[in-house]
Amino acid sequence: MVKTSNFILFLLFVFIQIILSALIDFGPLLFISIYPLFLLTRPVNTSLPSLMIWAFITGLTVDYFSNTILGINSFASVMMVFFQFRILGLVCRKGDMDNQERPGLRELGFTRFSAYLGISILLHHMTFSMVESFGLTHFIYNLPRVIISVAVNSFLIILIEYGVFYKNWR
């Protein structure tokens, strides 16, 4: 049951991501990536290796169907997921998440969830832009793009989280 729901969620996220990023052109200063929400709200008891494999497959699928360089999203999402539990440990107290399955908006509260989300998305986007330009030489030119994308994507993800999962989960 859990497995199928995960799979359906995965397909939905990838589908929305592809529609948003590939079919709508937002210009060079913004890239849409909302699939990190799927990875960030994996159950807390998931082991890190399986989480990384999830991230890799998600990233690769998104890459394959959208116009990005193949492998770049998988690199960024694996990087993000690798530090995911540490970031989660930053925003919530020890033992806080023991009874919770999903680190979502309802469970964490708005402030902690947005902090968790913001840091993770920032890490993801930084990695993304660094791999894209492959080095720190274009870092200054990439910075506005990263900042705008982090803001827009965080906003979008919080909207989705609030509208879809906040009320209907369980």
């Binding site: 990384m52 991230a55 890799f56 690769l60 492998g71 998988s74 990087m79 080095g135």
Partner: protein, 277 residues
């Protein structure tokens, strides 16, 4: 058992992370030209660095063979040169008779022990009586005079180094060919003093000093060093400070000089001395 130890778990996680990231990078480099060029550049840099390092190591460990080869070749050339020197004045007759023996021949040797920090320095070489080394043979290197053999065992020979305040070498100064003894004053290992050069001899700083060939120990015209500065002593002679070509602290391979005419020379000298006395 698997996954029980936190260390192994962390390690597998890290390995998986690296593997996934590496796989992503490979895909990226296959997909995009820009990234592949950059990655190729990094890989090439690493490769050249590593291969340069290993070739340096190989070169270092091959130095012994290279040295042996160069030494053998050098010896061959020196022998040939002595032959040419011998036959050049009267080439026809001797060349046909084929009975040319060079004035000097050489025995290559390796330095076993060496000292430079005393007033009476000595060197021990790995060739001895069984290799044909005898007492009172000169020892040279391509960069100058090294010393004189003073005692010989079966496999080793004991050499009084040129860096010995009792030692002197007969030397001449170009272009005037004035000669005098070159001695070491015991202060610096890279300088020696050429004394008893008459006052009227002209020379310049930078002129080369050679062995004179007036002793039976060393072949003539072996470069020893260059003139660095001079002073006049007692109003009649120059004392010339000579910068030696030979660096005694890095001495490894030398040639022992065998004078093929030594017996004859000693004989005639002894006869004259006997007549004098």
């Amino acid at each position: 058992m698997w996954g029980k130890s936190p260390f192994i778990r962390a390690l597998t996680t890290l390995l998986l992370f690296l593997a996934l990231q590496g796989f992503s990078l490979i895909i990226i480099s296959r997909e995009s030209l820009f990234q592949s060029v950059r990655i190729g550049g990094v890989v090439m840099h690493l490769k050249t660095g590593v291969s340069g390092f290993t070739s340096d190591i190989n070169y270092y460990f091959g130095l012994g063979d290279v040295n042996d080869m160069l030494r053998a070749e050098n010896l061959k050339l020196l022998r040939e040169l002595e032959l040419y020197k011998k036959i050049s004045p009267h080439s026809d007759s001797l060349l046909k008779s084929g009975e040319v023996t060079p004035d000097f021949s050489y025995i290559p040797a390796k330095v076993v022990a060496n000292s430079t920090n005393k007033l009476h320095n000595y060197i021990i070489l790995n060739k001895g009586r069984k290799n044909g080394v005898e007492k009172d043979m000169g020892v040279i290197s391509p960069r100058g005079v090294v010393g004189v053999v003073t005692s010989v065992s079966d496999h080793f020979s004991y050499v009084i180094s040129f860096l010995n305040i009792n030692q002197s070498v007969s030397a001449k100064i170009t272009p005037s060919m004035a000669f005098g003894p070159l001695i070491w004053e015991g202060r610096r290992t890279d300088y020696a003093t050429l004394i008893e050069i008459p006052y009227h001899i002209n020379f310049m700083v930078g002129d080369t000093v050679y062995t004179s060939g007036f002793s039976t120990l060393f072949p003539p015209d072996l470069p020893l060093g260059t003139v660095r500065k001079s002073e006049v002593t007692k109003g009649s002679h120059h004392n010339i400070q000579v910068k030696l070509f030979q660096d005694f602290s890095t001495l490894h391979y030398v040639n022992i000089v065998v004078n093929n005419n030594k017996e004859e020379l000693d004989l005639i000298q002894g006869r004259t001395n006997g007549k004098d006395k």
